[in-house]
């Protein structure tokens, strides 16, 4: 039952590009006592089918800026390889602490830093449905 709720919530947030993976990783490490590294692996696997569905739906809504995504993807792939190697080198307990700091920075920004986001969103509203 909890897997259903956690999976569903993570799916919603991940599909909206709101950082849903955090929910699953935090759930696994805090409540199921999975190691940080294993939880990250589970999250990545989880995200692939979820992102595929979201991607198809977003493409249909015309919300994806393909040109921009393509221009970012090469650097992204190289970064991802370096990042995974880094995660394998350091101790899982250190990875966990770094992850917590990353979460904290992200959470605080979401909580307090979205004043200008609101304005941009309001401006963007009329022309996004075309």
């Amino acid at each position: 039952m909890t897997a259903a709720i956690v999976g569903f919530l993570t799916g919603i947030l991940a599909s909206m590009g709101l950082g849903g993976g955090f929910i699953l990783v935090v759930w696994l490490t805090l409540f199921e006592k999975v190691s940080q590294r294993a939880a990250q692996g589970i999250n990545v696997l989880f995200f692939i089918p979820i992102a595929l569905i979201a991607l198809i739906m977003h493409l249909r809504s015309g919300l994806i800026n393909k040109k921009l995504v393509k221009s970012l993807v090469l650097g992204g792939i190289i970064g991802a390889v370096i990042g995974t190697l880094g995660a394998n080198i350091i101790a899982s307990s250190l990875l966990r602490k770094l992850y917590a700091l990353f979460l904290l920075a992200f959470g605080l920004r979401e909580l307090f830093g979205s004043a200008d986001t609101k304005d941009k969103e309001a401006e963007a509203e009329p022309d996004t449905r075309s």
Partner: protein
């Protein structure tokens, strides 16, 4: 070249933390001219590719557990469809606040556990 570095930062975070590349991807996409909705949707496209790379790389080092992931995937796909509809319809601002509060609480707990 600038985009190469921006992309590699997203990729690094996504690979290092196994999630969260979108946290950087969304502001980068907005800075490069996407609207709020476009940025969120496009971040999913970018992170999808990066997660494939991350998964392969994790697979080589033996830190993948397909059985565990499968417990969450069917529910997650339902959530993904719901989220894609929400993104077209609702304003994400209130959701971000709520999510931010949950994340801060989780971060503090992780730091001191």
């Amino acid at each position: 070249m600038k985009r190469f570095f921006e992309g590699s930062l997203c990729g690094f975070l996504n690979g290092f933390f196994g999630s969260g590349g979108g946290v950087i991807a969304v502001p980068v996409l907005k800075k490069e001219g996407c609207s709020e909705r476009e940025a969120h949707a496009s971040s999913v496209a970018l992170i999808f590719v990066l997660s494939l790379v991350t998964a392969v790389s994790y697979g080589f080092s033996g830190s993948l557990d397909f059985g565990e992931a499968w417990r969450f995937i069917p529910w997650g796909t339902a959530g993904a469809a719901a989220g894609a509809v929400f993104l077209r319809k609702i304003r994400a601002a209130w959701l971000k606040r709520l999510f931010g509060a949950i994340i801060v609480a989780a971060a503090v707990r992780t730091l001191f556990s």
